[in-house]
Symmetry: C2
Subunit: 133 residues, 2 copies
């Protein structure tokens, strides 16, 4: 049994290459646009500047068959099971990113520091728990 994930949009970013991507947003990721499917306008209609969102991406360039990785934060450490890491290599390469909304232009959402490369599919947006309505 599998489930079908449908992109709701994609990331538009100056970050073109995974090797340039910082491991986490607080390490210097650029701002970016979330470009949503116009058919989902109503679902995004209440997103406003200042909102804190969890962006869930599909890290489409990841290797899904990797179960163990050397942590990027310290390659000298022993291999670690991927479920104890934030490595993009994992059975379902879902990325979790917390961002702040800077501006909204229809179904284009400008957000601060996002560590995902240009073209990365977006699959969900949620308010963070502390900001939920």
């Amino acid at each position: 049994m599998t489930f079908e994930l449908r992109p709701i949009g994609h990331v538009e970013s100056a970050l073109a290459d995974l090797d340039d991507a910082p491991k986490q947003a607080d390490e210097g990721a650029p701002d970016a646009w979330l470009v949503l499917d116009p058919a989902l306008r109503e679902a995004a209609a209440d997103i406003a500047p200042g909102d804190e969102l969890v962006v869930i991406t599909w890290l489409h360039e990841s290797d899904r068959d990797v179960l163990v990785v050397h942590p990027r934060s310290d390659p000298s450490r022993p291999p670690t099971g991927v479920f104890s890491t934030r490595s993009p290599a994992r059975p379902n390469p879902l990325g979790l990113h917390t961002v702040r909304v800077l501006a909204v232009d229809g179904t284009r959402i400008h957000v601060d520091a996002l560590e995902a490369v240009d073209g990365t599919p977006v699959v969900d947006l949620k308010p963070t728990l502390s900001s939920r309505r």
Copy 2:
């Protein structure tokens, strides 16, 4: 273009019914077991009691065609776009849950307060950012 999400396991919980599920874990959800696919043992091998994990579930009973909901926290409020809510009804019904690991028995992981019904598919596990390795 769509992506294929493969369950890595499922939730085993005393919570049998969505109507009994609290909206958020801090509102009285029971502890539960994450029962992982034994083929993924290596990926989970470094999970230990005390770890704080983000569990990503697939809320398989959700309506994917809903774009606007009445917030459960206050049904008198006006309809709100689902991307500004944590409603399970949304285009890709991914659930995000932060839990603490209580015990590990092979690929069975006992966790505290989890607001997901028995049988809910699990699609990813990650350390929370504050606990990442």
